[in-house]
């Protein structure tokens, strides 16, 4: 049953207005895979009303850490931007988190022996971090490109030692000066091997990553966002334009991850 009450274990600010929340995950709920998401019931009142979707940024199975009774730990990274995320930011260890998940289709495994290049901006950092750490543990040597406006909005993240992290800021206050897409262009120019691109972030970034991939003849996967009602495919709210006769796909069930060439970019 993917509807459960998690227990908040930690809720830490990891950049200005960015938080990481760790919470307990029951052993009878399927383990999430990178790119999948969950929805959180943020209040018991009518305002804010809807559950909110968040990507999963990390997962520690019950076998991998001591807990009595055994339970797994999941994490999400969120940007405090409106009423629901402000309520989340106010939660403290021991508080209850109403969760539904894991939902949706996550990132596919890269081709064997390929070099995965992962790009994240804004709220996309969570799912991409989870993917980077999962791939590193599976023997890949992923490159993780993190973009932010400025140094203070660059989230502090815990990456596996086989993940090579590069950072870019628009104002050059940390790492590469420019957007994560500029950094991607530069990286593609210097890294050899069979490259595969994975991107999560604002739509403009996803589109730019797609165009960059097309220019270089590389496969790319993008995690889309859309306002959600049900989160399980029932309400048709979370549509995204795709290059198919049906015209739209549902982000919550056919996505959030799509092959970038499937999306009908506006």
């Amino acid at each position: 049953m993917p509807l459960f009450d998690g227990r908040v274990l930690a809720n830490t600010e990891i950049a200005s207005d960015y938080y990481q929340m760790d919470f307990s995950w029951p052993t009878d709920v399927r383990a999430p895979s990178p790119g999948q998401f969950l929805t959180v019931r943020v209040s018991r009142t009518a305002v804010p009303l809807l559950r909110r979707p968040f990507g999963i940024s990390g997962f520690i199975p019950a076998e991998s850490h001591p807990a009595d009774p055994p339970e797994a730990i999941a994490s999400m990274i969120y940007w405090r931007r409106g009423p629901a995320t402000a309520l989340l930011a106010g939660l403290e260890p021991g508080d209850t988190l109403g969760v539904m998940g894991p939902l949706g289709v996550g990132f596919p495994a890269p081709e064997p022996f390929s070099v995965p290049i992962l790009i994240a901006g804004g709220v996309g950092v969570g799912p991409i971090l989870f993917l980077a750490n999962t791939l590193a543990a599976a023997g890949y040597a992923p490159l993780l490109l993190l973009g932010a406006r400025t140094a203070s909005s660059m989230p502090r993240v815990n990456a596996h030692h086989h993940v090579q992290v590069r950072r870019s800021t628009d104002d050059g206050s940390l790492g590469f000066r420019g957007t994560a897409i500029d950094l991607l262009e530069q990286t593609i120019g210097v890294v050899s091997g069979r490259l595969e691109i994975f991107c999560c972030g604002p739509e403009a970034m996803l589109r730019a990553a797609h165009e960059c991939a097309v220019r270089h003849g590389l496969p790319a996967w993008v995690a889309m966002e859309q306002t959600m009602g049900c989160g399980v495919g029932a309400c048709m709210a979370c549509a995204v334009r795709v290059n198919r006769p049906e015209r739209y796909a549902r982000v919550c069930t056919e996505g959030p991850v799509f092959r970038s060439t499937e999306i009908a970019w506006e």
Binding site: G231, V232, G233, R241
Partner: protein, 306 residues
């Protein structure tokens, strides 16, 4: 004391009067993958139309104060794929399934209903809910559900297409909803349900345009509860067929307001997005209330309002 929460509509009985509203529970299978649907009385499907509809431009929903504004655009697979892909799953669901039918003009409602009727020999569908909130394409786009004669005609034509229960679903975006309810009854409806969503608009002041590309949308959720209760109160006094109340139900207390106002059954819509297991809990809450107040069945609620 045992409480009987069954309701009789058009010669059939729903064992449990709490249903999940059209457009909020898909075809059951979406939630069933995750949850057990036991405890839900009836599933009202997403609208079925003559042809597949891709739906409206995005975004399609936006949260409003205590509400949800949607412009889904009746996105659905159309009657043929409904019959091929959705219908076979209904028999396995633990609840009655009622097909919500939408169309562009009265004859088309009957045609879609007749098609479903012909392709459901095993009776997977309990009955039909006729969504008359759609614009009437043949009458220049005026909402069909706002014109009593059109509603009566639609009910009459659908009545000729099926012997199963017909529920006409009323829109609140009219001057006198009671009159529309009477027209549905005159046309042969076995019940009416109310309300569909309330027309609303929300504007992004920085972009200086409506948040929904369609401009207006349909408002649902707690914000419309009093509108739905008032509509139920007025319609139930105007007709002698059962009224199914909905609009903003988030708790057993809310549902009981509808029953006291004259509803014989209720539907839960937007609340499913907040808690997909809410309908069975609402049923349990109604039972507890009935026991506390010595009410044996839903008709006992109707005489109570002071």
């Amino acid at each position: 004391m045992g409480v009987d929460l069954s309701v009789a509509i058009g010669g059939r009985t729903l064992e449990n009067l709490v249903g999940v509203a059209s457009g909020t529970y898909g075809y059951g299978s979406e939630y069933e993958e995750h949850l057990d649907l036991t405890g839900i009385g009836a599933l009202y499907t997403k609208a079925v139309t003559m042809h597949p509809r891709p739906g409206n431009d995005v975004p399609r929903i936006v949260e409003t104060p205590a509400g949800l504004l949607n412009s889904i655009g009746l996105a659905n697979v159309g009657r043929e794929r409904f019959v091929e892909e959705k219908l076979p799953g209904f028999a396995a669901l633990p609840c009655a399934v009622i097909a919500n039918v939408a169309a562009d003009f009265p004859e088309e409602y009957a045609e879609v209903t007749a098609y479903l009727e012909a392709h459901d020999p095993n009776g997977a569908l309990w009955g039909y809910e006729i969504n008359v909130s759609c614009p009437n394409v043949k009458a220049g786009g005026v909402a069909l559900g706002a014109v009593p004669r059109q509603v009566e005609l639609t009910a009459r034509l659908v009545r000729e297409a099926t012997d199963r229960p017909i529920i006409v679903k009323l829109t609140p975006n009219v001057t006198d909803i009671a009159e529309i309810g009477r027209a549905a009854e005159a046309g042969g409806a076995d019940a009416v349900s109310c309300i569909n969503t309330v027309v609303g608009m929300i504007i992004d002041v920085e972009a200086r345009r409506p948040v929904l590309p369609a401009g207006t949308g349909g408002l649902s959720g707690p914000a419309i509860l009093p509108i739905g209760v008032a509509a139920t109160y007025r319609v139930s006094r105007a007709v002698s067929i059962p009224v199914i109340g909905m609009g903003g139900i988030m708790s057993a207390q809310d549902a009981i307001q509808y029953l006291l106002a004259g509803a014989s059954a209720v539907q839960v819509g937007t609340a499913n997005f907040v808690d997909p297991r809410i309908a069975p809990g609402i049923r349990d809450g109604i039972v507890a209330y009935a026991q506390r107040h010595n009410l044996a069945s839903v008709s006992d609620f109707h005489s109570l309002l002071g």
